[in-house]
């Protein structure tokens, strides 16, 4: 028997100017979700059930960029995505392009458990959601997910984009670390995905768990990148990028989606443990330091031995963890 452990995150890359009340609100939500997860673990629920339950809580709360409170597309709509992976058997489920499903992570779970496939998206995923109504899938109008916060963030993102030509093309005379910045107003000089950090609310959410049997599971959920093109898929629903779980460990990532995909970040942490024999923290540190190139991201991980590890190269990551011995913490910086 192993001591169980749970970790959660609410996004890497935190605006140092984020008002204190918002920081406190985020902390409270993370703490509440940790307690929910810990209670499930004490009651003997398997890891995969716990990660789903916790991520549902995070999706339902509007503070983070998932479910209600999701980032908005260019068109001002919400397109949500999520994935879940059960390290016990490496089964997985993922969804993208959801517009009416209240809890994307639960639909991802149903894809895993009740469809012959691993990943459903857009109209097909929405149709599946309706077929699964008897499994408790709730659908609502797209407007349910949109909040005042996300609308004002979209406005700021559009303003920033209208100044920047293409955030990946360096403007002449500007160094490559800040592409397309010429003439842009950048608060604190901090950028992610080419946009000023203030555009980011608390962000993508995720949970990783190892239960008392040593089984690991991971789940991640998001509205994606603020002002994204409709149809854009990020790292969160991609197994091996934003989410991964196997018999050794479970990982959930957050940050610049494109960087996380290029580095297959979640799988890399597990591969470093499995193939290179690194400890969990060593693997996390190595992946963050060596695999991201110029990308900015963070991740949480747990191992079959009950260890918890965080890693991020951003300024801050909303995170927290709890272990069976009674330890609990929530941090931002």
């Amino acid at each position: 028997m192993v001591g169980w452990a749970i970790a959660v995150h609410g996004g890497a890359g935190v605006d140092p100017g984020l008002p204190v009340e918002r920081q406190e609100e985020a902390r409270r939500v993370l703490e509440r979700c940790l307690r929910v997860g810990a209670a499930g673990l004490r009651a003997g629920l398997p890891a995969v059930d716990v990660v789903e339950m916790v991520v549902r809580e995070l999706e339902t709360d509007p503070v983070f960029n998932s479910g209600r409170g999701s980032a908005l597309t260019r068109k001002g709509t919400v397109e949500m995505e999520a994935s879940i992976m059960d390290g016990h058997g490496r089964r997985c489920g993922a969804v993208s392009g959801l517009t009416t499903v209240k809890n994307p992570v639960s639909l991802a779970r149903l894809v895993m458990d009740r469809s012959p496939h691993s990943y459903l998206a857009f109209d097909g995923a929405e149709e599946f959601a309706r077929e699964q109504a008897l499994q408790g899938v709730e659908v609502v109008d797209n407007s349910y997910f949109i909040t005042e916060e996300s609308m004002s963030m979209l406005k700021r993102a559009k303003e920033a984009n209208s100044i920047m030509y293409d955030y990946r093309v360096p403007a002449p005379g500007v160094d490559s670390a800040s592409p397309g910045l010429e003439g842009a107003k950048v608060e604190n000089g901090l950028l992610m995905n080419g946009l000023p950090i203030s555009v980011y609310a608390p962000e993508t959410v995720g949970c990783v768990v190892v239960d008392s049997n040593g089984w690991c599971a991971a789940a991640t959920s998001t509205g994606g990148l603020m002002n994204k093109m409709s149809g854009r898929i990020g790292d969160s629903p991609l197994i091996g990028s934003g989410t991964y779980a196997c018999s050794d460990c479970a990982v959930s990532c957050t940050g610049e989606g494109e960087a996380i995909i290029r580095s297959t970040l979640a799988r890399d942490v597990a591969a470093l443990v499995e193939y290179k024999g690194l400890s969990l923290q060593e693997a996390v540190d190595y992946a963050i330091k060596e695999r991201l190139d110029e990308g900015m991201a963070g991740l949480i991980a747990v191992s079959r031995n009950g260890e918890v590890a965080y890693g991020f190269n951003t300024q801050g990551m909303f995170r927290g963890c709890a272990t069976e011995d009674g330890f609990m913490e929530v941090s931002i910086w």
Binding site: P116, A121, F122, M229, S241, R262, R267, A271
Partner: protein, 328 residues
Amino acid sequence: MGWAIALHGGAGDIPLSLPAERRAPREATLRHCLELGVAALKANRPPLDVVELVVRELENSPCFNAGKGSVLTTNGTVEMEACIMDGNTKKCGAVSGLSTVVNAISLARLVMERTPHIYLAFDGAEAFAREQVKTMGVETAHSSHFITTENVERLKNAKEAKRVQIDYTQPIKGAIPSTKGDSQIGTVGCVAVDGHGILASATSTGGLVNKMVGRIGDTPIIGAGTYANSYCAVSATGKGESIIQATVARDVAALMEYKGLSLKEAAAYVIERTPKGNVGLVAVSANGEVTMPFNTTGMFRACATEDGYSEIGIWPSGINDDLEYPNK
């Protein structure tokens, strides 16, 4: 060192009894695509260009399950997906849910090069394609371009058998026999390396026969069906769901980097650990090595290396071998 190229037209339960009229056009297409790829490498085209042009050619052929000749969803429509990755920069592009784009692989490349994103799907991807029609010459066509009578037949058979078929499957006892003993066709892919060790990978597919609308397989998922870095380039084929959970393409490269395995060892390791009958792959290394392992009955495949080796095959070497080509 030296250049090398490998390509596939799908792994699965390709019956040994595959009739000549089904076998010949596929082998001819593989040979033609191999020649195109080799010529491009000899002309010093970058591997990224090479894999794209080879996969375009495979998409345009109705013989394989990509572009024209894509298998159909349960609604009788096509939903194509593709992915391309540049091992040198690890930049990548992916698309899913395309229904009118003639060359999905080229749209994936445009996503990589002309958007801030990596992956676009369904309506958003189609909208992007339309934006790129005038400026980048993206070709679109009516669904009739992609749908073949063979695939309409396959869908009918699959529905009657009430199963989702992988690229090639065992016939079910008592089930209605599939068309002329050829139950399936396959995903396509190409990997290439130049003399400088620069690697690239590209994969394209119509997916699974009778798949649910909106189903995404392994092909567009970086690290599952497609991957390239400074160690190797990999393109996988078979049962998408198995390839995703095993992160097949990424694992080959990870085994080389983290465990010090050779390309052949790494690829064999991954294939062995995936349930039998589910996966095949083609891979090249920075040193110009090639490997094409599979744990299915067969895999349509071809490869060539700068030192003069070339091979076109369907079943494991030594079986039905009369078409294996001698060294050129």
